[in-house]
Symmetry: C2
Subunit: 350 residues, 2 copies
């Protein structure tokens, strides 16, 4: 089970907590050893330079216990989620990840075993994504755990895929499947029941551990006109994708890529489509590209074994109208879905 | 009064709090407008590249309400402290500051007026230090305010002043004055009393608002052999400076640069020397350089109007001994000071 390994190291929880310097030397310095600019975390700063012809791409996001993850979540999973939500943004912009800074703010109740498991989770994802810890800080708090990560990637200078480059007539594509994470959170919180235990485990795992599309993202440079990772919810992020270029978006509900588990749950309760469309935390790449490049895009995704679906299109709004997102059914009729986070966007389908 | 301006903007605290996007557009996007790679904070990432022949220098540090600043501290001061503690590290390494990422983690009790004052504090320091907000995130928490900043500077490639380059016989220098911040915190917490109100205000201000030595730091490239900013306390940081190069440090107590306020307090209570030596949060630059360069260094500091003092020297320890810090009096006798954070270092003077 991939996620259990991160729970493992069970050190001396009865012994006193070592000081910050000792913890850094024991658990975090090894994560920096292969990046010379990190100086083994024995200095106050890190240095990094982009490769020739490239620039650095930075993203910073924090996760908070009780808000972004359950307070009793396994430390290794928390570490990997904190890192991956940032890598997902880099990927959606076409940047290759290189390094990250970590600010770890912990209440006194956190034991050394938690830190050991947290660092083990980071080590695992460093190996998976080829990134290195290069700096950061540990602080104490009277409140919940906070983990702030600044991820540093690299892309050809001036070439990252911005949010706002989409054009009238562009097709909209989505990697992977959508809605699993929102359903998984609802199952975890016992607000919904999955059809069986295996599906429940699948959905909960999708909530717990994002799969940033780091291999695919950089392939979109020069192809995608605009891109975003789906974190706020598919409809909200589609709105973001359209609004900078002042474009309407049409989303074909019948084409939404659903996992077997999500498909089964929607079949039993069609109202769950709203959860899928607006739930968020999907960390898939949503992007626009000219329809003429669909074949090329499909081939790139297929080469990575990554599901990819054309889910809609972008078009100029009626003169004077604000950009909006419309979800249509198989017959082209607007769906009147209502859910939180949805009403901002001009009453799609209304 | 410099610090009162940050308290000013008093918007509609009775009206409902705007959403994250609206707050970012209103208060934070203006802080990014002069840095093209920040894309007006309307994208998910920022891009940055070092100037020709340079590399980027990164530092990340978080401050927490109730730990690093009083919970009722003015928001503008909190913002400036969060930024300045990071700029101080860049300065000590010889890097010029360029930009920063900000993760702002706020409880629901924080009002819009707080955010307005926080952003005004950042705006003020951006003007002072020539840096720009280029990205980040807002999150909510059930705990205290947490502010994580990643500061990004620039220095000639391969040239930053590391901690560990000091050599046998190097002199040790210190910018500014030492101990004001620790005394200021004690006065603020009414553990100590300053001789008069003006001195109390001076010391408290030194605690509240670090003065990172951003103009002087870059001048040390090619001159200093090792440097660190004083945050953990002078003795602790002097130990850090010596230990990588395995050097003893001797600190001459009579040469310590004290402000008039600190001098008056030590005259009344000589035991306060321990607070001054170990209190921390000074954010001055402590550095080593060959004694032959003392004249050149003094001239550089004088040109900036920055006090600079040679306070000691580094030397090889006795064969087989661990590096240690010794504080000596005017007659060269070791002082037997005892204070928290001090006993780690081999019992200086003992």
């Amino acid at each position: 089970m991939p996620n259990d390994a991160a729970r493992s190291p069970p050190p001396d929880d009865m012994s006193p907590m070592p000081g910050e310097f000792a913890l850094i030397a024991r658990y975090f310095a090894p994560l920096a050893q292969d990046f010379p600019g990190a100086a083994g975390l024995r200095d106050d700063v890190a240095v990094i330079a982009p490769a020739e012809g490239c620039e650095l791409v930075l993203k910073s996001d924090a996760i908070v216990a009780g808000v972004d993850f359950p307070p009793d979540e396994a430390a290794g999973l928390v570490a990997r989620k904190a890192l991956r939500v940032n890598l997902s943004d880099l990927a959606a912009k076409g940047a290759r990840p290189r390094a990250y800074m970590l600010d770890l703010i912990l209440p006194d109740s956190v034991r050394e075993s938690w830190i050991a498991a947290f660092a083990a989770g980071l080590a695992r994802d460093q190996a998976e994504y080829g990134v290195h810890l290069i700096g950061g800080d540990m602080s104490s708090t009277a409140g919940p755990i906070v983990i702030a990560v600044t991820a540093i990637g690299e892309a050809p200078a001036g070439k990252i895929v911005r949010r706002g480059g989409a054009r009238d007539g562009d097709a909209v594509f989505l990697t992977g499947t959508i809605g699993d994470s929102a359903l998984g959170l609802a199952v975890l919180q016992q607000r919904l029941q999955a059809p069986d235990d295996a599906m429940a485990a699948f959905l909960i795992d999708r909530y717990r551990l994002p799969r940033p599309r780091v291999a695919f993202g950089p392939l979109l440079i020069g192809i995608a006109t605009a891109a975003i990772d789906v974190s706020d919810g598919l409809v909200a992020d589609l709105h973001h994708l359209g609004e900078v270029g002042r474009l309407d978006a049409v989303l074909e509900a019948a084409r939404l890529p659903l996992s077997a588990a999500a498909r089964a749950m929607v079949a039993a309760d069609p109202g769950l489509l709203a959860t899928i469309l607006t739930g968020g935390d999907d960390y898939e790449i949503l992007f626009a590209a000219p329809p003429t490049r669909a074949g090329e895009i499909a081939a790139l995704a297929a080469a990575l074994g990554l599901p990819l679906t054309a889910i809609g299109r972008l078009a100029k709004p009626a003169a004077g109208a604000a950009p909006r997102v419309t979800v249509i059914d198989e017959a082209g009729r607007p769906l009147a879905l209502r859910a939180e986070g949805w009403s901002h966007f001009g009453g799609a389908g209304g």
